[in-house]
């Protein structure tokens, strides 16, 4: 997979997602009035989180940058309508997730909608990778759609219900994709999170 050469930041114990950063009311008000400096501040604060989400799912830098551009242009155009019911970061994360999934839809390389064939599409190398078994390398061995489910659930905190709506699938599809992906990657059992989702 293509990597963002030289653009990686150390992140061994980061917060789960950069979207949790808060935004001052005054900056938001200025952005609503179309102030370009306020947009620049918002970009400084959330641009990395958007880019990281998109890159983790899409796996290539150019597509991730396209997503960031789409998300921020949409944000510029619609921030006046943002009512503040959810934190700004959460609102922006939703825009980023939707834009990223739209790119996946556009690629139409995942017509294998049943969970089994989706995760079975894993690279053969996945089972034999001993020397390069860091989290990023493992993640990149998943098919993009399974990556999206895993990243959005495990990192960005999406529930299976939300994932089902996002992908136009059932909750059991989302749970199944996640469980199989994690099993393949040797990760932890997502049962606990699934229980949380059902509450």
């Amino acid at each position: 997979m293509d990597m963002a050469d030289g653009q990686m930041m150390a992140a061994v114990e980061p917060p789960r997602s950069g979207f949790g950063v808060t935004l001052e009311r005054s900056t938001l008000d200025r952005a609503r009035r179309g102030d370009m400096d306020a947009f620049a501040t918002i970009y400084d604060r959330y641009g990395g989180a958007c880019y990281t989400l998109a890159l983790r799912v899409l796996g290539d830098r150019a597509s991730a940058e396209d997503v960031v551009q789409d998300v921020f242009l949409k944000m510029f155009a619609t921030v006046r309508g943002y009512r503040g019911e959810a934190p700004f970061g959460a609102w922006l994360k939703r825009l980023a997730a939707n834009a990223t999934i739209d790119v996946l839809r556009g690629r139409r390389r995942f017509h294998e909608d049943d969970a089994e064939s989706l995760v079975d599409a894993l690279s053969v190398q996945a089972d034999t990778a001993g020397e390069q078994s860091d989290a990023w390398t493992l993640l990149m061995r998943l098919p993009p759609r399974a990556r999206a489910v895993l990243v959005l659930h495990q990192v960005e905190g999406y529930t299976h219900r939300e994932l089902a709506a996002l992908f136009g699938q059932s909750e059991s599809w989302s749970k199944s994709v996640l469980a199989r992906a994690l099993k393949r990657l040797g990760g932890s059992d997502p049962a606990a999170r699934e229980d949380d989702d059902d509450e």
Partner: protein, 162 residues
């Protein structure tokens, strides 16, 4: 290229160990430029809508307004500049007929057209849109001139009706 290997044991996936990334520094520059283009498109669309409304309003006023001229008298102009120059000539004629070289009392139709023209110039409307408005203004002036001529023919005093 991986710059920061995770602490994950081999073969075990830990989402907390995923690296974070920063986009190319030039992305904001591209984004800001795209935002400027976005605003420009919005302005053009808004201007087009205003010009369309203005043209529709003037057309409506034209149909419901002063006496119309026969088609033979209606000049066809290729550009807004020509129509504007003709408008200036027609306005001079009207002043001479009215016997008032200074500022003439405005009429509702002329006022509407002039407002639409001002709006069109403010919105940087295209040559075609401006030409339409100038032609509307010329039609209105021809109507006023015809009215002034009628009043002059009918005798002194009638001109004040314009």
């Amino acid at each position: 290229m991986m710059s920061e290997p995770s602490d994950s044991p081999a073969g075990s996936f830990d989402p907390r160990a995923l690296p974070a990334f920063t986009a190319d520094a030039a992305l904001w520059t591209r984004l800001a430029a795209a935002r400027r283009r976005q605003l420009q498109r919005q302005r053009v669309m808004r201007g087009g809508a205003i010009a369309a409304i203005a043209v529709a309003a003037v057309a409506w006023l034209g149909w419901s307004g002063l006496p119309r001229q026969p088609p033979a008298l209606q000049a066809v102009h290729a550009t807004a500049g020509e129509a504007m120059r003709e408008s200036q000539d027609l306005e001079r004629q009207w002043r001479e007929l009215a016997g008032n070289p200074g500022r003439l009392p405005p009429t509702a139709r002329l006022q509407a057209i002039d407002a639409a023209l001002q709006s069109a110039y403010d919105q940087r409307a295209g040559e075609a849109d401006l030409a339409v408005l100038w032609r509307q203004r010329n039609d209105a002036l021809r109507g006023l001139i015809a009215g002034a001529q009628d009043a002059t023919d009918a005798g002194p005093g009638r001109i004040t009706r314009i």
